[in-house]
């Protein structure tokens, strides 16, 4: 590899050709601040916070470190008076149009702008003057856009484009520039898939999940309500980050303990429903193969993906499995089976879910998601909202004891745990299919070809002597690739396809803990978080969905067989072809 030699603040470093000054500085142990930069996603050099002085033989001048390529013999100075002053002025100019209600901002102490302003000792009133005032975009159930806090870094725009959705972008120009939907019609009137990736990358409080925690506090304080919570597979792998733990720490025990201390009447694990999803989905696949149904069948666990399909491939919704997502199946079981067993009126149950996902907030309001005649799930919150509840309750999370989920809906399997990572659903399904079709209890159950963070993975798996071709996609852009192949007649011969709306699957969902961009640029969040799940799976006694004691109990006590009438009524749903351009 061609190497380039240069000096960062007098320190000689050697970096591969094509590196940026920002990358070279990291080699020298210097972290240059950035705001708009997202590696390979948003290299637009817009915010100008990363300015440094460089000399390439013609004297020092200011360039943006994030996009400026290194050259041989270059001298870089990252902390000169001129640089510091420029960065400070940039921050002060940004602040002059920023809604500085930091005390009550949900991103306070976790705001990239706030952190820099503190570091550079800015005068927040340095520039008075015209400041545009914007109305909130409250139009969707999943997030709030507050342009008054927007610093126009456009990371959200890049995230949305990475998802091949692209429903937000810059409108107007100059000081009036603002991020919005085309024609300012509001997010609910454009084909937004609710994935929330924009909220995960926003450096400030301009894009936040819609906070539903007040509804939960209200329910918890209502003696007439029976409040039940379920947590998605990936939450245990990420919640610790909100409390300063290293990325990839599994905090299942503390999470359960915290939920119980918050006052939930029952703490259940969405995992049991993930296992239920596998057996229902596997059954549906077998039926489709046997009866000449629409193939390949595509998973429907991810509401962001489902919405993407409904908007962008409305003529292909028949490919979606009719199975509800694990969240909805859990909700359905809680308000039917569990309600009856526990002798509680389903109308009194407030069913709460903790999800890695903002689209789950949309999903709970979908049609055909009410097995007991009332919504399967009442309130869906994100990992971030749960962390705020724990903080408000004054729980010292890191010191909590490890506790276990409540029974009977707290039992899980390794297959369910890996649902949180891309490829996990497919692997879980194959474990079950392999056992069923071979009639054996197979022990070689790690389908490693399906693991990893690549957007699109393909494999040919031999099950009971038959080669089955499968594909796994994560992120809506990869979903588009898969759908286009399917539209072109499925030349790859896929039978079963797993698609997750977010890149990397649920571990990198739009509701997961915020990590500042320099962490996102330097740590592969998707891989490290997923590892926590695969490690847990490997250590578990039961690693196949069909062996789940809950699943077994449900089918022996409650449902009339896989895909039977009752199961179909409670655990399956329907989809709508949506018009991208409104009605």
């Amino acid at each position: 590899m061609d190497m380039i030699n240069l000096k960062i603040n007098g320190i000689a470093v050697s970096v591969p050709k094509g590196s940026t000054v920002l990358e070279a500085a990291r080699v020298a142990g210097v972290e240059i601040p950035t705001l708009c930069f997202m590696k390979e996603k948003n290299e637009i050099g817009a915010c100008r916070i990363c300015v440094v002085e460089v000399n390439e033989g013609r004297g020092f001048r200011i360039v943006t470190a994030c996009v400026y390529p290194v050259t041989e013999g270059m001298e870089v100075l990252t902390n000169t008076e001129k640089v510091q002053k420029a960065r400070k002025t940039t921050l002060e100019l940004i602040l002059s149009t920023h809604d500085k209600k930091c005390l009550s901002c949900v991103r306070s102490t976790n705001c990239e702008l706030q952190k820099l302003c503190l570091e550079y000792g800015v005068d927040e009133g340095a520039f008075a003057g015209f400041k545009p005032v914007y109305e909130l975009d409250n139009s969707t159930p999943h997030l709030v856009r507050d342009n008054n806090k927007c610093i126009l870094c456009r990371r959200c725009v890049a995230a949305c484009q990475e998802q091949y959705v692209g429903v937000i972008g810059a409108n107007y120009r100059g000081i009036d520039t603002s991020i919005g939907t085309p024609f300012e019609v509001g997010l609910s009137n454009v084909p937004c898939i609710s994935c929330g990736q924009c909220t995960a990358v926003c450096p400030t409080g301009a894009l936040v999940e819609k906070d539903d925690t007040d509804k939960i506090w209200e329910a918890l304080n209502d003696p007439d309500k029976y409040v039940v919570v379920q947590t998605a597979p990936s939450i245990r792998a990420t919640l610790g980050e909100c409390f300063g733990m290293p990325v990839g720490t599994n905090v299942e025990g503390k999470m359960v303990s915290a939920l119980r201390r918050l006052g939930f009447d029952k703490v259940f694990d969405t995992d049991f429903a993930a296992d239920l999803t596998i057996v229902e989905e596997a059954n549906e696949l077998v039926e489709r193969i046997k009866n000449g149904g629409v193939l390949p069948m595509v998973t429907s666990c991810s509401p962001g993906w489902v919405k993407f399909c409904e908007y962008y491939y409305p003529d292909m919704i028949d490919h979606l499995s009719s199975c509800k997502s694990p969240q909805q199946m859990a909700g359905a079981v809680i308000k039917t089976y569990y309600a009856e067993k526990a002798g509680i009126d389903p109308k009194k149950i407030v069913s709460v879910s903790v999800m890695p996902c903002t689209a789950k907030k949309f999903e709970i309001g979908r049609e055909d998601q009410s097995a007991a005649g009332v919504p399967d799930v009442d309130i869906a919150i994100t990992t971030r909202e749960l962390s705020r509840m724990i903080m408000r309750a004054g729980l010292n999370f890191n010191a909590l004891p490890d506790e276990e989920f409540d029974n009977p809906l707290g039992e899980d399997t390794g297959a369910a745990v890996i649902f949180g990572a891309t490829g996990g659903v497919m692997e879980a399904a194959l474990r079950t299919a392999n056992d069923w079709l071979t009639g054996k209890d197979n022990t070689d159950i790690d389908f490693t070809a399906l693991r990893g963070t690549a957007g699109l993975k393909q494999a040919t798996v031999n099950i009971a002597g038959n080669d089955i071709k499968v594909a796994v996609a994560s992120g809506a852009a990869a979903a588009k690739v898969v759908m286009d192949r399917m539209k072109a007649g499925n030349p790859d011969g896929w039978t079963f396809v797993e698609i997750m709306g977010c890149p990397g699957g649920c571990v990198n969902g739009g509701g997961q803990p915020i990590q500042p961009q320099f962490v996102r640029d330097t740590v592969d969040l998707k891989a490290v978080r997923a590892k926590a799940l695969y490690d847990q799976d490997a250590a578990m006694a039961i690693r196949k969905s069909h062996e789940s004691p809950v699943v077994k109990a449900l089918y022996s006590e409650w449902y009339d067989g896989f895909g039977g009438h009752k199961a179909h009524h409670d655990l399956h749903t329907s989809y709508v072809a949506r018009n991208k351009y409104g009605k």
């Binding site: 290299e43 637009i44 050099g45 817009a46 915010c47 100008r48 916070i49 300015v51 001048r61 200011i62 943006t64 996009v67 400026y68 390529p69 002053k85 420029a86 002025t89 940039t90 100019l93 940004i94 002059s96 149009t97 520039f127 003057g129 015209f130 126009l152 972008g169 810059a170 107007y172 120009r173 100059g174 000081i175 009036d176 520039t177």
Partner: protein, 607 residues
Amino acid sequence: MIRAHVLICGGTGCTSSGSLDIQAAFAENIEKAGLSEEVKVVQTGCFGLCALGPVVIVYPDGTFYSRVTTDDVKEIVEEHLLKGRIVERLVYNDTGDDNAEKANVNVSLNDTAFYKTQNRVVLRNCGVIDPEDIDEYIAMDGYAALGKVLTEMTPEDVIKCVTDSGLRGRGGGGFPTGRKWSLCAPNKAPQKYVVCNADEGDPGAFMDRSVLEGDPHCLIEAMTIAGYAIGATKGFVYVRAEYPIAVKRLQKAIDQAKEYGLLGKNIFDSGFDFDLEIRLGAGAFVCGEETALMTSIEGNRGEPRPRPPYPAVKGLYNSPTVENNVETFANIPQIILRGAEWFASMGTENSKGTKVFALGGNIEHTGLVEIPMGTTLREIIHEIGGGIPNGKKFKAAQTGGPSGGCIPADLIDTPVDYDNLTAIGCMMGSGGLIVMDEDSCMVDMAKFFLEFTVDESCGKCTPCRVGTKRLLELLDKITMGKGTIEDIDRLEELCNYIKQNSLCGLGQTAPNPVLATLKFFRDEYIAHVVDKKCPAGVCKDLVSFVIDQDKCIGCGMCARNCPADAITKTDYIAPGHKLPSYVIDAEKCVKCGVCMGNCKFKAIEKR
């Protein structure tokens, strides 16, 4: 047998003052007079002397009629074309020589003060040929350069010729054109592009429009040559949609060139293919920045991108691209035909050739002029431009539009070229040259240009988006008399920050009008903040209109014309006058100055 040609300017300026009607009137009257077989009416591009439009020239004698109306047409046809008698009252004959015989109406166009120092290379065909007729272009050696390039020269020869000529980009930056081409040529890619920047956006600049309207084939020929030189087979001309005549003529020219085989496949049987398309811009100033322009061609919001990578490596659609502006391209065919040495013989050491300027502001001859590089500002203003109207004094010239600076009166003998202008903190820009007389306020001038850039900032980078707005607010404060001496330092500091930290040329140069006026007219800023006075009496908040009670004869003209009803009669009758005087209520006065213009007795003064 055609014995006379009537050339009528069809440029945007003359068109908007009715030249199309004049053309129709000529056709009608010529037919009526039975001259259809003998006299041909030709619609040309811009002659340059827009202030005197609509312009009509009758050849072979070259009689130059100015400010022609449809009512004059009958007379010109019956007198001049039928009887051979020139219509003297319409002839423009200003030689600039006060001793010359004014009655001599047979002054050739080229002998007038406006034209005689000019050297028309870029504009050589403008106002001479019918831009909508490819044969007329060919008759003026059109496409001969392309023929030479494709049949006798290698791409390296072409680049060498352009490099040797010393041609530098006429869009503002002044980057050597040959070097730009040679940086792109070696880059291998399946598709390369030649892009013409015809998004002329400086207020008051219309050089490129005139070339597009008056000589569109010249651009097509030049871009094809550039394509051959760098190995590109596809070109785009990015024209602002506000130039409908230019767009129409260029499209017609492209169609004609394709019909003649001068564009398209296997041009001149050389095996070289080149295709050209027009892309319309929506009139955003920032799209004149090369990366923003390419982003716009790609169908995205016109915003600049960071450089490097430079367009020569990764330009349009991420492919190697050469982008030049219209005027730069317009030089190319002549350089090829007449040689690099010929071109390099014009101009100064590091600025070769000619430059087209759009003269505007407080000057007699508003219009387009093309002069050799190195011509002094004095010659441009006082000789070619005819000086400052109403006997006013020259104060400063603004070059480079909103990105440029100003040249004060004591530097009027500066030879105008890239390096001299840069040296005095100014810039060549694309060629807008706005002349200001003693009544101009330099703070107000800086504010005017800043308002423009604030409005045109794309909003992508912080320094330009927010910084320029804050700069403008500081200027507002100063011109309202609310500024402090510290504000001047803040102004300068913020200017330097924006210059050094902005993403693209628009932001980097936006503070130039402020910095230049701070450099040369700092005392005016100080007058605004310390004395709370606008020395030129322009800044409304700092002036008041007062009626001199002893001069006022009480005619009431001022009061009758005051739009704000701010003027009322007093009880006072000045000695020697019969009627009571008037007084202005400062609270109600909107400072429009209408009263002052209406007072025949000079009784109203601005303080």
